[in-house]
Subunit: 218 residues, 2 copies
């Protein structure tokens, strides 16, 4: 017996950059359809709970820990009678960004049903049309990083220019020239130096920066 009205849902590709890899959060489904398959976090729209579909997407990310996602963006709408065996469905695909220092709180070694996986090496087939969703979400993220603004939302609150460059390289999948990269940053107003703050390590310390207060990833 099929529902008369289409199901409306939001599915989110939550990205982080860890270990020099662009990673996405996947959940193992414990219900039919596609029981046992991996899928993007997603929930069905509940009009009494969700002010709009962005709220639905945020709710999809309310797993164990309450993640406050600093960037959430619509990617595309997927719809049709066959993408979900339960019947006609409409799903809005989102992408979201999480700083890498918050990634372990979402999925670590404890549970095996929530994992970060490298986008490059998709484990097994994903449920529904989530592989297409993921592809579009990655493409959108790449486009944005190429165009202009920088994905500060993937970095901790304090970061170095080297870390920023590496995140961009990982997303774009290619090496960037250090000098050219920093030249572009000169005109950027979205982040500023933290005077006197340095990241120390094995080698020469690096200046730390932070995003400006009202920074939004455009």
């Amino acid at each position: 017996l099929k529902a008369i009205y289409p199901i409306i849902a939001a599915d989110v590709a939550l990205f982080t950059v860890q270990d020099d890899q662009l990673q996405v959060l996947l959940l193992r489904r414990d219900n039919d359809p596609y029981r046992g398959y991996w899928a993007l976090p997603g929930v069905v729209l509940k009009p009494d709970l969700d002010d709009n579909l962005d709220a639905t997407a945020r709710r999809a990310l309310n797993l164990k820990s309450r993640i406050e996602v600093p960037h959430l963006e619509q990617v595309a709408v997927f719809s049709g009678p066959k993408r979900d065996p339960r019947g006609y469905s409409v799903s809005i695909a989102y992408f979201a960004l999480l700083p890498r220092d918050q990634a372990p709180a979402v999925a670590g070694a404890k549970t095996q049903d929530i994992v970060w996986v490298a986008v490059k090496h998709p484990k097994r087939p994903l449920a529904f049309d989530h592989a297409q969703m993921l592809e579009k979400a990655v493409a959108r993220l790449r486009q944005k990083v190429e165009q202009s603004t920088l994905p500060l939302h993937l970095l901790p609150a304090r970061f170095t220019l080297g870390e920023l460059q590496r995140v961009c390289e990982v997303i774009l999948g290619c090496r960037l020239d250090k000098s050219s990269f920093r030249r572009r940053l000169k005109t950027e107003r979205s982040f500023i130096e933290i005077p006197g703050a340095f990241q120390t390590g094995q080698f020469r310390p690096a200046q730390l920066y932070r995003a400006v207060k009202d920074f939004r990833f455009q």
Copy 2:
């Protein structure tokens, strides 16, 4: 009595460039809510008719004349309990492009309920949140024209480089340098010269061009 399930709809901002102005198609609503207001063409998703929401959007454009829209693209999803007084609704906003030589067939002097209006001079308040939809659609179109490919779908099958430049100027809202513009076109593969075909007029004839067979506005 409100419906339990959200309404799902597609609304389309259909653009054309006429009289050196970016114009959008508006319909006057003859039903409540917003009876008498102007609105973007839109219809409710019918699962038995529409393979997906793109089909819904196309159906929204099946007015009197059967328009074959050469470009249709999702812009954003609008959703919430208050945007439609009938209850919680989800609407996918699209934009579409129509060559100017086909514009008169859609809306002319005959009916007063279907009109082309200049985007610059929005007549009166639009129904629902269609003003926001229109704003986003225009922004998306601008972005695309700036980035790379050219909106050949707004021109007749045969066009001159001057006409192409004027269309871009109208969309972007600024003048472009003729020489620089043509230099960019040199690397463009999406359209080609029609050998021996010229557009004559009062002054020097201009070379005619046409889009390549499988051209898609990216």
